[in-house]
């Protein structure tokens, strides 16, 4: 299936074309070319999916890893080498579909949303760059290729968040996003170093084959600080994943990243890039299970905590994009938990399937939510809930699609979220009741904050709008409709037939007990939200006042930004950088200068000897002769 390589090449060609030609291209032309390029990639992806899942993928009833393309890129020494290639397996093909679909929708949507913006060509160029990076990431044949595209994804995300580069907040947000993920990537890199050093390969095929026996045999020993090499490596890899997927405590960049254009948020910070961490863990899953199971526990707990933490914060936010951002964090944490509680093979691997399933469904409905939010913002020119309300009359399409997405994320059947969430809950239930309980609560909270959002945008009292809000143009609402349709139907896919931890299809039925529990809690959440927010009232304010302390803390995101601010500004900058800069200028440089000054001083000190008086000279002469004579005799 060598053609798959074009899925990746088309966007990069688009990027080069659009960015180099931006001066000569009309904005509209550039947008259309970019979108067309993406459409090509999308079609190719669909074709790939078809070929893979229905024609070529299965070998002996198991979905195999097919290396569709590979070429050596860089060699390190005799053993290690980085290849660039295309690896097809269920999750990468699934990701191809998700990424291209969402990306295409975002491209389309952006044609309308970004109309008239300065740098329209640049915007589409960067979207292509991002798509390229993300696609390269998911089809990576080896961990280093993944790392390479991982970095590229980070960079294109940086550029897109900072698209409005004249806005200081956007610049700060983009910087923060890049640096936080970069910091996490450091873990990823060191993890790769440890992993490759021990196993002697970067290749996913070798690393994950035979229940990761390679890693198990080479890495279980060699402890450092009491932990085995495998534990170190896999924890560090998870650190990278956590950074990209905004797990606590590395989540702080994601809410700020909402400074970027909304379609970008939809593409990068909801559907694709942020799930890269989940994808990484899924990709390395056999190693986690067999070589470092304790790290899986870590993942579970970090995930569960993040899910709850982000959900609580989401309740208090007033910026609609930030609500969605925290919701994203929470939902990705869900996926992480699902991976954490999963085992390998068959039903034990249900969590794995569930995680991927949720990734799949979440991509669509979250993209839909963001795009819908974008349409709203487009209409009212504000992100704040304060400035919205009663918009359902003005924006019917947006309203309906948004509602569908809200229902999906709340886990209400028959929308897609219900199916994937149910599967996660059931996997968690089988693994650990406590985790299940947490997730269950989070499900309720999710429903609550989503409907809080929904009501505050579309219901409640109408604000006085400067300009009459109006429905988005067709180029914007068509993607909404497409995504809404997908949200409605994609839950019905027999996902476990395609994606499973060991490649062998199995059927995961719906656990009705758990399903009903989750639906109940979802409905409860919706009901509470309806009570609070459907009509404008002082109920929310009173409730907030009741738990003022907690509410305050939550709305300040539990001061995590401040903590990080403290660590970076106060500790790193003030206690490391400033002293080093000072040390360098004064101590090191001072020493070097002091050598010069000392020489000068010495010169100054001996100057009077040269008094200009002949007799002094003679005296020195005679004394020197005498001293030398004595010295020679003494020797």
């Amino acid at each position: 299936m060598g053609f798959t390589v074009y899925i990746i090449l088309v966007p990069i060609v688009m990027f080069l074309f659009l960015s180099l030609g931006s001066k000569w291209l009309k904005p509209r032309t550039a947008g259309i070319i970019g979108t067309a390029g993406m459409a090509v990639s999308t079609l190719l992806s669909y074709f790939t999916a078809y070929r893979y899942f229905f024609v070529e993928g299965q070998q002996n009833g198991v979905y195999a890893k097919i290396t569709a393309f590979t070429a050596e890129w860089l060699r390190f020494g005799d053993k290690l080498h980085i290849d660039m290639g295309v690896l097809l397996d269920p999750i990468s093909v699934m990701m191809l579909v998700v990424i291209t679909t969402v990306s295409l929708m975002v491209h389309l949507y952006s044609l309308g949303y970004m109309k008239g913006e300065v740098g329209f060509q640049r915007y589409f160029g960067l979207l292509s760059l991002f798509s390229f990076s993300m696609l390269g990431l998911v089809v990576a044949t080896n961990i280093f290729q993944m790392y390479i595209f991982w970095e590229l994804v980070g960079a294109s995300s940086y550029l897109l968040i900072g698209f409005y580069y004249t806005k200081p907040t956007a610049v700060a947000a983009s910087k923060k996003a890049f640096i936080v993920t970069r910091f996490a990537d450091l873990g990823f890199l060191i993890g790769i170093l440890i992993l490759s050093f021990n196993t002697g390969t970067f290749d996913f095929g070798l690393l994950t084959a035979d229940n990761a026996s390679l890693a198990v045999t080479t890495m279980s020993g060699g402890s450092f600080l009491g932990l085995s090499a495998a534990t170190w490596a896999m924890s560090l890899l998870f650190m990278g994943a956590a950074g990209k997927s905004a797990m606590f405590p590395l989540h702080i960049w994601l809410p700020d990243a909402m400074e970027g254009p909304t379609p970008v948020s939809a593409l990068i910070h909801a559907a694709t890039m942020v799930v890269a961490g989940v994808f990484l863990v899924a990709r390395m899953f056999p190693l986690y299970v067999f070589a470092a199971p304790d790290v899986l526990t870590l993942i579970t707990y970090v995930g569960a905590f993040t899910a709850l933490f982000a959900a609580v914060i989401a309740i208090t936010q007033t910026d609609i994009k930030r609500v969605l951002a925290f919701s994203t964090i929470s939902q990705i944490a869900y996926m992480m938990v699902a991976l954490g509680v999963s085992g390998m093979g068959g039903h034990a691997g249900e969590g794995y399937t569930a995680s991927m399933f949720h990734l799949f469904t979440h991509a669509f409905f979250k993209a839909l939510l963001f795009l819908g939010a974008g349409a709203v913002i487009h209409a009212v020119h504000s992100n704040e809930m304060e400035n919205m309300g009663g918009l359902r009359k003005y924006m019917p399409v947006t309203h309906i699609t948004f509602l569908i997405a809200c229902l999906a994320i709340s886990g209400i059947p028959p929308f897609s979220g219900f199916f994937s969430k149910d599967e996660i809950l059931s996997a968690a239930f089988q693994h650990d009741k406590f985790i299940f309980a947490v997730l269950w609560v989070v499900a309720g909270l999710t429903a609550f904050y989503m409907f809080r959002l929904y009501y505050r945008i579309f219901w409640g009292a109408e604000r006085r709008y400067d300009k009459h809000p109006h429905e988005a143009p067709a180029v914007m609402y068509v993607p909404l409709i497409v995504l809404a349709a997908l949200t409605c139907v994609c839950g019905m896919l027999p996902f476990s037939k395609f994606v499973s931890s060991d490649g062998a299809p199995f059927s995961a039925g719906i656990n009705w007990g758990i399903a009903s529990a989750s639906v109940l809690v979802g409905i409860a959440g919706i009901a509470v939200a309806t009570w609070f927010y459907k009509k404008a009232s002082d109920r929310p304010a009173r409730a907030a006042a009741k738990w003022a302390g907690f509410w305050d803390a939550a709305s300040h995101k539990f001061y995590m930004d401040e903590v990080w601010q403290f660590v970076t500004k106060k500790i790193i900058f003030r206690c490391v950088s400033r002293p080093i800069a000072w040390f360098d200028r004064h101590v090191i440089d001072g020493t070097m200068n002091a050598l010069g000054t000392m020489t000068e001083k010495a010169s100054e000190t001996i100057e009077p000897v040269q008094s200009g008086k002949v007799q002094t000279y003679a005296l020195v002469f005679v004394f020197s002769v005498l001293i030398i004579t004595v010295g020679v005799f003494l020797l």
Binding site: E607, Q610, S611, G612, K613, V614, Q615, A618
Partner: protein
């Protein structure tokens, strides 16, 4: 016969007196005279060594002769320069010729 050591003692005293004089005298002429003392002590040494230790050759004596001649030339040049110094600076205090220093 006077022992050789006596000559050497005298010449050493002359030498060091000359050195001392060179270092302490104020008058340039006195300084010049001190130099003559040093040179003369050397000439005594040469003569004495020749006469007492190596009487078969005349090297030491010749050296003394040349030394005397050269010191005369030296004095001539020195006095010429001292006169010039006097003309320009109006004194011949050796301590005052210290314009060039450091």
């Amino acid at each position: 016969m006077i022992p050789m050591e006596h000559y050497l003692i005298v010449s050493s005293i002359m030498f060091f007196v000359g050195v001392y004089g060179f270092i302490t005298r104020k008058n340039l002429l006195a300084v010049l005279i001190s130099i003559e003392l040093i040179l003369n002590s050397v000439e005594i040494n040469f003569s004495v060594f020749n006469r007492y230790l190596y009487p078969e050759h005349m090297e030491g004596m010749f050296f003394s002769l040349f030394g005397i001649a050269i010191s005369a030339a030296e004095t001539a040049v020195a006095i010429a320069i001292i006169i010039n110094v006097y003309r320009l600076a109006n004194n011949i205090d050796v301590r005052h010729i210290d314009k060039l220093k450091h």
